[in-house]
């Protein structure tokens, strides 16, 4: 059906202009144009688009900054060190600043033997074959993906060798270092060989008060029998807009456990579209969201059980304060013939203030009969009786509330089952709680 002529929003106009200004001799210009055309035809998603019902980008994204420029690595070093979420963990590090790989800040010692790494930027100059491998998304239906293809500059291309075990976690660190607005667009491609084991961390940090945008797509393949923990910690600056899309394809008997920790940015959406590609795989998809002020944090997941005998467990917690808004959308699709599927999804939200909001949409779409699927969702405030119990034992009200919120979130964080990472995220949670305003 032909839609009536639509006037572009300010952000769409800006995006079109930035796209037009991209250099003309780009070897993947055609691919970028196809992607951008797919995006601009529909424009930014709004609340009438079912998947974006609660996160209306047409309203929330008021402007679009121009792609950011690379910065001097030495200038970035301080920033990278300051905002180090996983500082206490012995890990290998791949650092991106303003969307560009920064070799002097990166360190792969200790894991070089287990993996191959190259920056995507190098491949882009030789053509975009690598960019086209994601089958999970139709650019016309995935605005984040289309914009990513149009503007992508760099990213990490990682191949973990078959049977290799990473001796320490590998962090992909993304830092925005500009004083003014800018757009950083990254595409990571991670292939985990059969039987390999790895803990991969993704961190996002940036300055407060700067309206920068981050767009990151992570395209991941988990080989047969591989075991991977993938932890994303999003602590972008308070004016930032963060759009993340994780696209894992999980092969037979693999164990893939992603975790989303969301605390930063003004507006953020972390989306995962996962597909089980081989029988016997399992995945625990979990997350903790903390929001205050006027933050809008969205977690959206689509899990496709395309083959039989896979197990997925989704467990999400959110604590929303002030006038912030939390969104959880989760859909488990069980394809025809994907018998013996197990899917269990739970989303729990705690509203800490009178004006906090939470929207929950857990969906099941099931086309096979021999399955055990379920979901649960709760939303409410701190249990008065628990609070009373603690206060009657001499714990001050604000501390009691902090303890309860921490315990609530820790339930999800502890599921990561990696002591150092759990400790790091719990510390971030405690910090967040201590910065909180007065108790109601």
């Amino acid at each position: 059906m032909a839609e009536p002529e639509r006037t572009r929003t300010k952000a769409e106009e800006a995006l079109a202009q930035h796209f037009a200004e991209l250099s003309g001799d780009d070897p993947i210009r055609d691919m970028r144009t196809t992607a951008f055309d797919a995006f601009i035809e529909k424009g930014l998603p709004n609340r009438r688009v079912e998947d974006w019902k609660y996160t209306d980008l047409r309203r929330l994204m008021t402007d679009a900054p121009a792609p950011a420029e690379p910065v001097n690595p030495e200038r970035a070093r301080d920033l990278v060190d300051q905002a180090d979420i996983f500082a206490d963990i012995d890990r290998a590090r791949i650092v991106f600043v303003n969307g560009y790989f920064v070799p002097p800040l990166s360190d792969l010692s200790g894991v070089e033997d287990a993996l191959d790494f190259a920056s995507l930027g190098r491949f882009l100059n030789g053509g975009g074959a690598l960019l086209e491998r994601s089958e999970q998304v139709d650019p016309g239906e995935a605005p984040v993906y289309a914009l990513n293809s149009a503007f992508v500059r760099d990213g990490a291309v990682i191949r973990i060798r078959e049977g290799a075990k990473l001796t320490k976690p590998l962090e992909i660190c993304t830092v925005f270092a500009g004083n003014g607005p800018g757009l950083q667009t990254l595409r990571h491609q991670v292939t985990v060989g059969d039987g390999a084991e790895a803990v991969i961390l993704q961190s996002y940090v940036g300055p407060d008060g700067v309206g920068y945008h981050t767009n990151v797509v992570s395209d991941i393949r988990i080989g047969k029998g591989a075991k991977v923990k993938w932890v994303k910690a999003q602590e972008e600056g308070d004016q930032a807009l963060h759009l993340g899309l994780l696209l894992p394809r999980v092969e037979a008997d693999a164990v893939f456990d992603p975790f989303f920790f969301a605390a930063g940015s003004a507006v953020a959406r972390s989306e995962i579209r996962m597909i089980f590609d081989g029988e016997g795989a399992t995945s625990g998809i979990r997350g903790a969201t903390i929001a205050r002020g006027r933050q809008h944090l969205d977690t959206t997941l689509i899990v496709d059980h395309a083959v039989p005998e896979c197990v997925s467990q989704e467990f999400f917690k959110a604590a929303i304060d002030d006038e912030a808004r939390g969104v959880f959308q989760g859909r488990i699709n069980v394809w025809p013939h994907a018998q013996k599927t197990e899917g269990k999804m739970m989303s729990q939200a705690l509203l800490l203030s009178e004006n906090a909001e939470f929207s929950n949409k857990p969906e099941l779409e099931i086309f096979a009969d021999d399955v055990v699927c379920g979901h649960g969702a709760t939303c409410g405030q701190i249990d008065e009786e628990m609070l009373f119990f603690m206060r009657s034992r001499g714990v001050p009200a604000d501390e009691a509330e902090r303890l309860l919120v921490h315990a609530f979130l820790a339930e999800a964080i502890e599921e990561i089952a990696h002591d150092d990472v759990v400790a790091a995220l719990e510390a971030r949670t405690r910090r967040w709680l201590s910065l909180g305003g007065e108790v109601r």
């Binding site: 929950n360 949409k361 779409e365 099931i366 096979a368 021999d370 699927c373 379920g374 979901h375 969702a377």
Partner: protein, 509 residues
């Protein structure tokens, strides 16, 4: 559980009785020309002898409808409906008072018989006598005829689009309850109708509701005055009879302060090839301390085993708990129709008001059901409960779609939702799409959903004790849905258990 035995017997009969209510009554009818334009709307309004304001109300709805698009968000697929290829009004002709049942059009009597309406009530429905006149059929004259099981049920049979007759009028009048076809109410109680009609489902609400507002032919009107507990269950039978006529029912129920009413709606439709459109609107208004209980058994023709034919059921049902401490309870058993698009909802406006939704939705063959509810918490300390049981078999798709929302002022709102789906066979689909939106920290929402198949252990246990596969399935499904079955009025409980058996025919083995 004798009722389960009944189900089993019903399943046994299936070979000879595929669709029990698939008969077609051949009686003359008086109908509007095919198609829809302003003149059709005026024709309907004139036929009903409606006042000017009502005609205008309809025309306004019609003009609005022209600008609207058919909704496409539901998980249902059907060929495009040609709204100009339908008859919008059809009334049975044989309505002049016969002297005895012998003179009544035998086709009508046969219809009632198949519907299971007691003979004495048939007399009244057919216009042989008034409800308060003694019946020639028995000796104990003077007492009003009783409904099934000794309980009193007043029936307002909507035969195609016109209420043929209304029973128990006097009994109800004594209590001050108004129960009559809405077309009559528009003439007799224009102020009451005007005050409430469209106040819950606005004329502009949605494509199908707006179409209904323009062309509704008849339906029931109930008004229960202050402090009155309606002395009997009110009931209607909806039937779609005439070929190619859309059925556009309009029901309006108002329970004034402290009133209580229970309303039963039973639906069956004749078997035919072409798809039929049904776009009803039901509005409930509960004022302070009032309670309305609305129960439905919907068993319209679901189409044949290849998915040909069947009723399109696009219904807008909404209750408004307008007063404080009011309560509205929806109970539905959906086994029929090729396509069901139906979301009985509650607007919990009054403080401490309560909404309930109990549903069994069974789909088999090529049926498509997209049904659920909306609980909109506006007032303080409002409560709602949703229990939905979906059973899909054959090649059908069964979707629960529901919204629970708490607005800024709805502190102390409470919701509990449980929706369970059962899958029988590997070609069907079961989907759950809940929306849970909280804008108040003091609201507590809990939602739980499960999807599974009948467990092998349960089947083995039943079969090992000598039950056939189909008997076992009927037993297990009845058990699965028992929480909802128990909420049904007596009259519907037995029928429902039978229907579950019939509906799942051919789903196993």
């Amino acid at each position: 559980m004798p009722a389960v035995q009944e189900t089993i017997e019903q399943v046994k009969q299936i070979d000879v009785d595929k669709y029990k209510y698939g008969f077609e009554t051949l009686i003359e009818s008086d109908r509007a020309p095919k198609g829809l334009d302003e003149s059709t709307v005026r024709f309907i309004s004139a036929k009903k002898g409606e006042p000017e304001w009502m005609t205008e109300w309809r025309l306004e709805a019609y003009r609005r409808w022209l600008t609207m698009k058919e909704p496409s968000w539901a998980r249902v697929k059907y060929p495009k409906i040609d709204y100009q290829d339908l008859y919008y009004y059809s009334a049975p002709k044989s309505m002049s008072g016969p002297n005895s049942l012998d003179e009544v059009d035998p086709e009508i009597l046969a219809t009632y018989e198949k519907l299971g309406i007691p003979l004495k009530e048939q007399e009244i429905l057919a216009g042989v006598r008034k409800a308060d006149e003694p019946s020639s059929l028995d000796e104990d004259s003077g007492t009003p005829p009783s409904g099934s099981g000794g309980r009193q049920v007043a029936v307002d049979a909507v035969f195609d689009s016109v209420s043929v007759a209304t029973t128990f009028k006097k009994e109800l009048a004594k209590a001050g309850v108004i129960f009559m076809p809405i077309s009559e109410a528009i003439r007799e109680y224009p102020d009451l109708v005007r005050k409430y009609l469209g106040s819950v489902v606005p004329v502009t609400d949605n494509f199908f509701a707006t179409l209904n507002s323009a062309v509704f032919s008849d339906g029931s009107f109930v008004y229960v005055p202050k402090g009155v507990r309606c002395p009997m269950e009110l009931s209607t039978y909806f039937r779609i009879n005439e070929r190619n006529t859309g059925q556009f029912e309009r029901t309006l129920i108002i329970a004034d302060e402290g009133a209580y009413v229970s309303y039963l709606e039973g639906c069956t439709a004749p078997m035919r090839d072409e798809n039929q459109l049904h776009a009803a609107v039901v509005e409930l208004v509960a004022l302070d301390d009032a309670e309305i209980k609305y129960s439905t058994v919907q068993n319209w023709y679901p189409g044949d085993k290849d998915g040909k034919g069947g009723v399109y059921n696009f219904v807008t049902k909404r209750g408004d708990c307008r007063g404080k401490n009011s309560k509205i309870s929806w109970t539905q058993v959906e086994t029929g129709s090729a396509i069901t698009w139906k979301y009985p909802s509650c607007i919990l406006r009054g403080d401490n008001s309560e909404g309930e939704f109990y549903s069994i939705a069974i789909s088999n063959g090529h049926q498509q059901i997209d049904s659920g509810t909306k609980m909109i918490h506006l007032g303080k300390n409002t409560k709602s409960r949703i229990i939905s049981k979906g059973i899909s078999a054959g090649n059908s798709n069964n979707t629960y779609r529901g919204l629970v929302s708490a607005h800024r002022k709805a502190s102390g709102a409470r919701n509990f939702t449980q929706c369970d789906s059962l899958l029988i066979g590997e070609n069907c689909g079961a989907h759950t799409v809940p929306y849970i939106e909280s804008k108040n920290a003091g609201a507590i929402f809990e939602h739980e959903a499960t999807t599974s198949k009948i467990s092998d252990d349960q089947m083995f246990y039943c079969q090992q004790r000598g039950m056939s596969e189909e008997e076992a399935v009927a037993l297990i499904v009845n058990g699965f849905a028992r929480e909802v079955i128990q909420k049904l009025p007596m009259e519907f409980m037995a029928e429902t258990q039978r229907l579950i058996g019939i509906s799942l025919e051919g789903s196993v083995g």
